[in-house]
Symmetry: D2
Subunit: 338 residues, 4 copies
Amino acid sequence: MIIVLKAEVTKKQVDHVVTKIKELKLKPVVSKGIERTIIGVIGDEAEVRLQPLEAFPGVEKVMDIQKPYKMVSRESRHQGSTFDLGKDVVIGGKKVVIMAGPCTVESQERIMKLARLMKKSGATVLRGGAFKPRTSPYDFQGLGEIGLKYLAAAKKATGLLIVTEMMDVRDLPLFERYADIIQIGARNMQNYNLLKEVGLSRKPILLKRGMANSIKEFLMAAEYIYSQGNHRVILCERGIRTFETTTRFTLDIGAVPVLKSETHLPVVIDPSHPAGKRAFVPALARAAVAAGADGLIVETHDKPEEAVCDGPQALLPEIFDELMKDLRNIARAIGRDI
Amino acid sequence: MIIVLKAEVTKKQVDHVVTKIKELKLKPVVSKGIERTIIGVIGDEAEVRLQPLEAFPGVEKVMDIQKPYKMVSRESRHQGSTFDLGKDVVIGGKKVVIMAGPCTVESQERIMKLARLMKKSGATVLRGGAFKPRTSPYDFQGLGEIGLKYLAAAKKATGLLIVTEMMDVRDLPLFERYADIIQIGARNMQNYNLLKEVGLSRKPILLKRGMANSIKEFLMAAEYIYSQGNHRVILCERGIRTFETTTRFTLDIGAVPVLKSETHLPVVIDPSHPAGKRAFVPALARAAVAAGADGLIVETHDKPEEAVCDGPQALLPEIFDELMKDLRNIARAIGRDI
Amino acid sequence: MIIVLKAEVTKKQVDHVVTKIKELKLKPVVSKGIERTIIGVIGDEAEVRLQPLEAFPGVEKVMDIQKPYKMVSRESRHQGSTFDLGKDVVIGGKKVVIMAGPCTVESQERIMKLARLMKKSGATVLRGGAFKPRTSPYDFQGLGEIGLKYLAAAKKATGLLIVTEMMDVRDLPLFERYADIIQIGARNMQNYNLLKEVGLSRKPILLKRGMANSIKEFLMAAEYIYSQGNHRVILCERGIRTFETTTRFTLDIGAVPVLKSETHLPVVIDPSHPAGKRAFVPALARAAVAAGADGLIVETHDKPEEAVCDGPQALLPEIFDELMKDLRNIARAIGRDI
Amino acid sequence: MIIVLKAEVTKKQVDHVVTKIKELKLKPVVSKGIERTIIGVIGDEAEVRLQPLEAFPGVEKVMDIQKPYKMVSRESRHQGSTFDLGKDVVIGGKKVVIMAGPCTVESQERIMKLARLMKKSGATVLRGGAFKPRTSPYDFQGLGEIGLKYLAAAKKATGLLIVTEMMDVRDLPLFERYADIIQIGARNMQNYNLLKEVGLSRKPILLKRGMANSIKEFLMAAEYIYSQGNHRVILCERGIRTFETTTRFTLDIGAVPVLKSETHLPVVIDPSHPAGKRAFVPALARAAVAAGADGLIVETHDKPEEAVCDGPQALLPEIFDELMKDLRNIARAIGRDI
């Protein structure tokens, strides 16, 4: 940590900060420059980060040198994490994992039909919401446990794994029973009680990045889960909020190489939510695989006109099937596979 | 609702949309322009909004005419809502309500001392967190119920009302017992299960705007609470996330007149979180009162160097006291009071 | 155009708007809904858009139906524009055009060396700045005309075409002499006098998107150039400004499919400026080709430590050479080539 | 400057950086921490900032300690700049300077009428564009020199000073003749050739912040003008681009205290462009004065329905007159005046 002092700092103020650092059993190194005096702090920043050093008189700003995330950082583990999601589906390895399905589970018949189509095209995980976070209290809120049961039936019929979103800390037992991968949605990325709860689960977690959260905050949220003992955390970039409105969100494709350099956790891209319109989804999906994503999670629907949510961004199964061919070719072009 | 069709739309596609609208018992009005055909939908948009019309073939985009929020909208109630928070503290009226106190409750002694100082300067509500949403799992997470008890003691001693943040749906009984106003934090603005839970409470709710949420989403979140039957919702703007980093967030001061025109609910400003540094807080607080806010919620601390959170942005009690004088003068300059 | 009136609009106000529309020789269609009265305007919006209808009493908002850009829109020309840049280099066709070279021209020797290396790896256009827009007045501002001469020499030696940035309206004759493609930088995207000036040139223009400009504004800027008679406009997405700071800008990869659907002009991606660090450049370059970009413009340098600008984001020639192999494979995977 | 090295840095790489710093006649201080080695650089950062140190092998990041702006910084001049704009109008002092008038000069009659009304309400500077930066090439582009002449006539009749926007480097002689204050618009804030040109003028410059420019870039743009010898630079915050769309831009009210702490230059707020709608302008104007702005620049129009630009955000003269009373009261409440 580097503490930059104000131009007009007094000796007494410098001593006050130095004393505080020594109290914390750390080593201060004072260095006088031509415009500023700075204090370098040698030792573990974790402790000193808890101190409001910017509140000390004479301090202009405090700059971190160490990363605030520890266990999920690439430095703590140089090799990328590779782990099993169930039924031999491995994420973080050579194969790009494709998760696909509807925004929400609508009926047993439909989810069964879609599951079969997704499976045929090469997906290995089925997505579908049973509990839905909806902007309006008047929108459809999901089928609840019934939805989870339909997903379980689709899994039984096809062998696909199930990823589905959990929103309420009280629902963990339900998700332990029915889900293979528990999704934490973008709107709950900083719902820390929920993060702690799923940190106690032994199911893999698909953690979506909040629409206005920095990479650093994203990794801190992952650290919440990881530090509780659940090490199977998958990071999912799904578009951030910017001034641009022709797409629903702005896919931060740069997050792929950044996350790959900052953390050992696998990285998945959701090309559907940032697109907002189905016509834009394939380009984003292709870009994601080319950029090096370990997986994709894509919304599909056989009758988008009847979809109770996100119909406009759902791919038709036949378009999804064509897209899968492109994705496979791109994966191979960069030494991977699907 | 206006449905804009693509330039190359076919008659069959137009008919298909028209049929759907009639099925919903609404009246479609087709109008051919020189570049585009559009369909106006006459009737209640609530029903049609649930349909994924943008997923219909030939549809380019769908534009809402009606507001998606109903009960909290200014149109549903032309006069601003004015309501009692307890002990004759009224929000939404002529008097600007000042809420002040530390980021988090640290000890009984300190909260008592601060409560007395805030009271003396003219605050009527004491703020202080007992459960804290922290970006890092390694940061102090709050005293929990003990903290709530200390707040209750401070209330008893000073007569100040208590506003404090609730993060977990399971904690409502605790907050019903100790809090006068339940705060929903920015990170939980779209935690819909939490919104529904406090919608069932009879305590007033201070709802903070999410750092990347639009005014429309903010009002939809308020509608979640309001539509459950809890009509005492206070909206709090606390800074949005933008590219600018010299302040911690960007205070959206324009939200004050916008909210005043869109909703009848009272509007409060938090000048501390957007500032991030105490030197910038007074200017934002003065601006908020001049812009027409119904209240302020300000962080203060008698020893910011010892604060376990947000020390750098906490005002010293003596600075807060001076600020209160300015605020009172500004309030009077525009026909209000503090 | 749709004019939405306020809930409390009077008959007199409606008539006043209707009269205005008729004066403009357009056809107003008044339609009363349950919450709002709206007026549809039939005819060419270009004229009515110049009227401040939102300033009329009783008007709540005005919604455009037609696109404000005409000549560059995909509707005005269904097939994508394909044009020659010189020496048989065609943009907008099957081949992805690769432009590469240093941020700025530093010396004849270096630009010559880099040109030869770029050529060898498969680039067909050499980039390099002679006039540089620098954030600080104390930074190196470019070699000026000398730099252009060095570029011309490199062209003569290698056959590569030259793309270089013009910043001053007075410099057009210089650029007509030395450049093959004139670049308008992101900071000048709304410098309308400059746009008009290059609209009179017969050189192709590479127009970079401003860091905070919407797709619509980007296309309006292209329309400025196009409507002056210069139809060879290439659009370049180079990252937008968002809250995320781990990359220098956020590459808006979604702009590729959006632009492809909105305009017939070719689309190029600059992966270097959004990355900011060379380690992130290859992933963005690969994503761009996979998303369907018609070209790339990449910064390279043989001795980044000696670069007078943007050294940290410049690729070493050997890394660029490897990247080119990946890009060629990806291009072929989606039916294109490099 | 602090150079943070990568965890895996080699001794050779450290030595290489150290050698470079010594070559620049600066003093490197190497400090080994538990996770990172860092190198502090003692001496003038200006020189070292020109070096691409982040491009050196083993370097993770480079953090500035010194400010890149020198002459405009508050450190270079502790007291705020106060200067004369002409005719005893002083900016930066106790009196808040009010600039008001139409978006664009439309006719001699109208500008004369508006000038008289503004003067009567207490404005001391008349605003009005003769050359207009318009997003669309099909919009009205201003009256040009004729517009400047009308402004001059209004000045003669009322004694108001004239502020008007210059867009083209070739127009300086015209502006020297007719304007009292030359405005550089938001879209040209990083048009460095234009900044250098007006830096050679002896007229005061009103520099508007670009819609996506950081405070640091804003001050660097001011430094461009200041370092050419023109010290009368006024900074104008006019709203930044964010995700929020209910207002045209988001007024960054926090920029007032931030700029006051970072620079000695006077700060003016434009409440009209961020508002976008006249109903929101007064709240922003009041907030600006309360926050400590040294001036306001407000759009007004006597017949907004006939305005050729920005009619919806123009205040009617009678509303402006009322607003002026509020502003005067607020100014006095904080010890200033209008």
